[in-house]
Symmetry: C2
Subunit: 321 residues, 2 copies
């Protein structure tokens, strides 16, 4: 019965104009029909795009090119891990988690990106996921990783000694690429809607715990500004300004390996949607999110999500959240 | 040089509190540290969740269960098609587009969903994509499709006669499931940011073209309210209220096969983010977007995106946008 439903909903549409700025040509003259496309001022304010979104007007200029210059930001969530372990360093990937990490590495290899930089959180599950990914990537295609020793083949999945050893931790020669800012924690805005269990847990915190929590929130707020911006990977933006590996579309690729809550907040901020919406997005283990960042100075600087929480490369029997 | 960058950005953070409601424990006493988690009123307004988001307070009640009742809404974008064809009915899937549709059907089969309903746009590329999907789905797992005759094997990809014939069009016995509301067109809000080419094209429209355009925008606004809501597929919500096929988590599954602009607008509306953001999301051909809709009356009714624009199931050489 679509018609009665439409009629009924139609009544609400008129009442709900804040989210449904429908216009009606028959109630307007031809003279002002073009202006009827304009949406209400309040909406424009809410949804307006700030091209200088990272507050970074000093990005390097470059010789003109026929292409826009782009930075592809890839967010990979770590694999499944042992949530019940007591100590932080014991919260290692499960066997399933390792398989997910390796499947994601395989996909990144197949996609054929020239990866300019990998940045991973300093938590063990993110470091191990990075190792799993690197075991599948051809080193030739990596400009810079900060990781000197990685397994050349997938680790033996039943041997926990082996899988722990091939953590990126074995090399910290380029510490900037291991980011403690990216460690998991609560984003600096409460989710809306907030699950009752979350609200209850918050109310039970003592002042010291609450202070710690606020520090973590501040740190995660900083992580966005520190890692997600229009600056090219290199100071002069060599790759983005020179052209891609095939001489075509000039872009740089940065892979971040980290955590669901941090990445959900980053996605909202990068897309300039209300950050309270972060919990409305779910990211599966080993999933790939791609944000295409236009870094062409100084004009239109857009950010487009090419995919969010894509784990279609992981066989169904290995999927988890 | 992360530190100078952090410092510099930190200054802007304070100025940009509308999107960065960071709080500072050292500037607050213990007494009010809990309330420091509250975000600014303006932000709460922007990001507030409306549990009665489809304005439908009359959804059916049911006996209590240990599970929340869920509806999984799957949005599949059609495959690549011949954009240069003159007449609408000639804008058929390319061979690549057929391969994408079949890959998506295969993935939906592998995911093992019990699909309760498939709704497809009435444009040829969406009808053909639906046929491609159905050629891979086991009929046993389909409650209702509205499509009586489909190819039992993938169509011969080089034979245009064959691929046109296996369009769902051959059966219209259940016309509600072929939706003309879902046909492609401009969403009822202009995208923000708006590409200059789009603005220029809009300005060149004559009043008659503009009036047509506004009618289309109205139609696409209606399509959201008509198709995306908390009502279960069946009048009494049999599956959602009885429990899933395995007797576990009770949910219903509806698959929509349609178009990028319509779906991008739907995603924004379903997630209650500003609809002007629709062009910030890109959906690849054959991609799968999953929205998990809580239909438990009458309490918390959330919508969560499980994945957006996921085409990881499509081999890299067959991907396109």
């Amino acid at each position: 019965m679509p018609f009665p439903r439409l009629l009924r909903v139609g009544t609400f549409l008129l009442a709900a104009s804040a989210t449904s700025p429908l216009t009606f040509p028959w109630s307007r003259s031809n003279e002002n029909s073009k202006s009827s496309l304009a949406v209400a001022p309040k909406l424009r304010e809410q949804g307006d795009w700030n091209h200088n979104w990272d507050f970074d007007a000093a990005i390097p200029t470059s010789p003109p090119t026929q292409y826009r210059r782009l930075k592809l930001v890839i967010l990979v969530r770590h694999g499944q891990y042992d949530t019940k372990a007591a100590a932080p360093e014991q919260k290692v990937l499960t066997e399933l988690g390792w398989k997910q990490a390796i499947a994601t590495g395989k996909r990144l290899r197949e996609l054929g990106y020239h990866i300019d930089c990998i940045v991973h959180s300093d938590m063990i599950r993110a470091r191990q996921t990075t190792a799993g990914i690197l075991s599948e990537l051809d080193q030739v295609h990596l400009s810079e990783t900060g990781i000197l020793e990685v397994a050349t083949r997938p680790p033996t999945l039943t041997d926990h000694e082996v899988v722990t050893q091939c953590s990126p931790l074995v090399s910290k020669s380029c510490p900037l690429l291991e980011s403690s800012l990216m460690a998991e924690g609560p984003p600096p805005v409460e989710p809306e809607p907030s699950p009752p269990s979350r609200t209850k847990r918050l109310e039970s915190l003592c002042p010291a715990e609450l202070s710690d929590r606020i520090n973590t929130q501040n740190r995660i707020g900083s992580s966005f500004h520190h890692h997600i911006h229009r600056r090219p990977v290199s100071i002069t933006g060599e790759r983005a300004f020179r052209g891609g590996p095939t001489g075509g579309r000039p872009f740089e690729v940065v892979v971040f390996v980290g955590h669901a809550n941090v990445f959900r907040y980053w996605i909202c901020r990068a897309l300039q949607i209300p950050p309270e919406a972060w919990l409305r997005i779910s990211l599966p283990h080993g999933s790939i999110t791609e944000l295409l960042v236009d870094i062409t100075p100084p004009s239109e600087c857009t950010v487009t999500a090419l995919r969010i929480g894509d784990d279609g490369h992981i066989p169904v029997e290995l999927q988890s959240r």
